[in-house]
């Protein structure tokens, strides 16, 4: 986890216009933000665009971040999550681009998950098998409702604690736990169905 004091100093330097401090923040957090965006957005291009948007937002609103009021990581994650929600809503409305709507949850419902992946399966070595497994899980994740998806992403992929997740999602801790339970269970059901089809 981030050393609160060091990050606080970094943010203060950044607010004072220190470009090197900003670069350090980008270096420190881009991986995490990119991974959240990727797990949410499905495509690598979208994830990259969204990550850039997040950092532009962070850069512009950095002056509103209060070091005393909470961890920087939680603040950045909140910005990321809000942006993803906006993006998801917008792309649902527009249906023009194939960004988030291209996620299997929308376009590939016609074909069962197992079949989608089976089509792509090539006779493979161990490494590509585990990559295939990762692809299974990733695709199943896209099938979860955004509400459940964000909860399990923050908990199981970003290792955030329930209190932090509650802050980011602006819901009580009990709701967070319940969503995580349902998200995990739903994911397992999807994958069980998939494996039954594939095996």
């Amino acid at each position: 986890m981030d050393d609160a004091q060091a990050v606080g100093r970094l943010v203060r330097r950044c607010k004072a216009g220190d470009a090197a401090a900003w670069e350090q923040i980008v270096q420190q957090y881009h991986r995490r933000i990119y991974n959240i965006c990727f797990r949410f957005a499905r495509s690598a291009d979208d994830a990259q665009d969204l990550t850039q948007e997040v950092f532009i937002k962070v850069y512009r609103t950095l002056s509103s971040y209060d070091v005393e009021r909470g961890a920087f990581m939680t603040w950045v994650t909140t910005i990321t999550r809000n942006l993803l929600v906006d993006h998801f809503r917008k792309s649902k409305q527009d249906r023009v681009t194939d960004s988030l709507d291209a996620s299997p949850s929308e376009n590939e419902d016609a074909m069962p998950l197992g079949q989608q992946i089976q089509d792509k399966t090539t006779p493979a070595d161990m490494r590509s098998q585990s990559r295939e497994a990762g692809e299974f899980v990733h695709r199943a994740l896209q099938k979860l409702s955004p509400e459940l998806r964000e909860a399990v992403i923050l908990r199981d992929l970003q290792d955030m604690d329930y209190r932090e997740i509650a802050t980011v999602l602006k819901v009580p801790e009990g709701t967070v736990k319940s969503r995580i339970n349902r998200g995990r269970a739903e994911l397992a059901r999807l994958l069980q169905r998939t494996y039954r089809q594939v095996m």
Binding site: V26, R31, Q48, L191
Partner: protein, 246 residues
């Protein structure tokens, strides 16, 4: 309620404890009654094993490696510097790349522009472009926050050209009204002699094409439509029209 009588834990409580149980944080009596409920409840039992499986699946997902140019792009997008790349010199900055790409296209133009006799024209052209842009509501300071993604560039382009076109349409209407007024004047006054060629260049022109006068505003004759240079046309009319449209 799928719970049987001998277990005193309710499903809601089970749900509240489930994540803690999977984190291995339940101990003692709590853990025992939790496990007991899971064994007897037809809803919570499967939920427990599914949530456990789902959690393992998620944990099996590794971290995704971000694209190599992500940090660079973020720093460019936020106007920050890009020292790492600059130091290593691995990658040419986008500004340098654009300059390199444009050089073969524009260097002949710049060479012409450097000649004294054309320098004024280019200066005036740039000046009128910037005046047009600012009249059309495009601030040059906006360019500091340029979003360089293709979609955003497209949007900015359409917004800007929309504003410029709107302004241009307004100006065109003013010109049209002006020329109608002039025609009206001509019709109501005795016929003027045909306009004389203004210099030698015009005499030598045998192409039969109309003169491209707008490129040479500095040498215009008195009969050409210029917004600010016609003493006979009442500027009040033009201003009123422009304001009403805009």
């Amino acid at each position: 309620m799928p719970v049987e009588g001998r277990n005193n834990m309710q499903c809601a409580e089970f749900d509240a404890l489930l994540s803690d149980a999977l984190d291995g944080l339940l101990t003692g009596d709590k853990s025992e009654s939790f496990q007991a409920h899971a064994r007897v409840c037809t809803v919570c039992g499967p939920l427990y094993s599914e949530a456990d499986a789902g959690r393992r699946w998620l944990k099996s997902l590794g971290e995704i490696e971000p694209p190599a140019n992500l940090v660079h792009n973020i720093l460019v997008a936020t106007g920050g510097r890009d020292t790492a790349r600059a130091k290593s010199g691995q990658q040419v900055s986008w500004a340098a790349a654009v300059r390199g790409w444009m050089r073969p296209v524009f260097s002949p133009v710049f060479a012409v522009a450097r000649q004294p006799r054309f320098a004024m024209s280019f200066g005036m052209a740039f000046f009128s472009l910037s005046v047009t842009l600012s009249l059309a509501g495009v601030k040059l300071t906006d360019l500091r926050h340029l979003d360089l993604r293709p979609a955003a560039i497209k949007r900015t382009y359409y917004e800007t050209s929309g504003r410029v076109v709107k302004y241009y349409e307004n100006i065109r209407l003013v010109y049209e009204i002006e020329s109608r007024v002039r025609e009206f004047k001509r019709a109501t006054t005795p016929a003027e002699p045909a306009s004389q060629p203004q210099n030698k260049e015009h005499k030598n022109n045998t192409s039969g094409q109309p003169e491209q006068r707008q490129e040479r505003n500095y040498s215009q004759g008195p009969d050409q439509p210029v917004l600010a240079g016609l003493p006979n046309d009442p500027p009040v009319v033009m201003l009123t029209i422009y304001r009403r449209i805009a």
